[in-house]
């Protein structure tokens, strides 16, 4: 096979502009999604350090660690708007950060267009499921639903 005009830069030399030709400075008006994604990975990462480390400390280190975790433990935490907000932020930031990260990994390794497309569809579907289920659970959870456990914050009503 004889390749036509092989140059070190590719098959065809790019057209050269004349030295003084005016330089077009008009910026694209489209938002730059990859740049925003890049910034989001860094900002969400910093927030997640506090959120996830705090989560692991409260649930896994202090008290009895993993052995303290049961329905009543969750009821105690989610009776407080503080932990509800904490978990909601952690849920959305971790899931969106993770989705954007895995999207990069898929783009890097899945070479066929169709494979890449379907892997990303599966990724986005999983993301929507986790965000919807996770959000609903935080907001619809009733810490007083179990009549056999009498938390003092339940008797008030």
């Amino acid at each position: 096979m004889s390749a036509p005009e092989q140059t070190p830069g590719g098959s065809y030399a790019p057209a050269l502009e004349t030295p003084r030709s005016p330089y077009k400075r008009s910026r694209s008006t489209r938002p730059n999604w990859e740049l925003h994604g890049w910034l989001f990975m860094r900002m969400s990462g910093l927030a997640l350090i506090v959120l996830v480390f705090g989560h692991l400390f409260i649930n896994l280190v202090q008290g009895e660690g993993i052995h303290q975790v049961d329905w009543g433990f969750v009821a105690g935490k989610w009776s407080s708007p503080f932990w509800q907000t904490w978990d909601l932020l952690m849920l959305w930031l971790a899931q969106l950060h993770g989705t954007n990260g895995v999207r990069t990994v898929i783009n890097d390794y899945a070479e066929r267009d169709a494979t890449r497309f379907w892997l990303k569809m599966a990724l986005y579907l999983a993301t929507v499921i986790v965000l919807v289920v996770g959000t609903l659970v935080i907001f619809t959870f009733d810490p007083c639903a179990d009549p056999t456990r009498n938390f003092d914050f339940c008797s008030a009503a």
Binding site: R42, G134, V137
Partner: protein
């Protein structure tokens, strides 16, 4: 087919095999590989974790049964691994951010990596003592 683009050292006469083309970087490559593996691992954990936490809405009995699965020694070791991955990913994330935004970040990137390793041990040793004591002496 030898063309003028073939470097002289790879010609037949030298008798040397061409060097492998597999990229083997140093700290920079390994931190990248580990960052990627840990990120994907945490992603899959989070998927399972949100679904099993959702059973709090089914009934206290179901949630307690699910969460009790996390309390045996095998899962306890899994949790230790998960925390190790989270701590590495977080510390190395800070290293990436410093390399990107701190004007001396690229210059010190190798030292920053060893900083990540040192802080990782400093956090993991006390954590493992605490967590493994909880898991194995209950």
């Amino acid at each position: 087919m030898a063309t003028s683009l073939t470097p002289p050292s790879q010609g037949k006469k030298s008798g040397l095999k061409p060097a492998g083309t597999l990229y083997r970087g140093r700290e920079g490559m390994w931190s990248w590989v580990m960052h990627r593996i840990s990120g994907v691992l945490i992603f899959f954990f989070l998927f399972v974790h949100v679904l099993d936490t959702a059973t709090v809405r089914v009934s206290p009995e179901v949630y307690d049964a699910v969460i009790n699965q996390y309390k045996n020694p095998v899962m306890g070791l899994g949790e230790a691994g998960l925390v190790g991955a989270v701590v590495f990913h977080a510390l190395n994330g800070v290293r990436i951010i410093l390399v990107d935004f701190w004007h001396k970040g690229t210059q010190h990137q190798r030292k920053l990596f060893w900083g990540v390793v040192v802080v990782w041990f400093a956090l993991m040793v006390p954590f493992l003592v605490r967590h493994l004591t909880n898991v194995f002496t209950h």
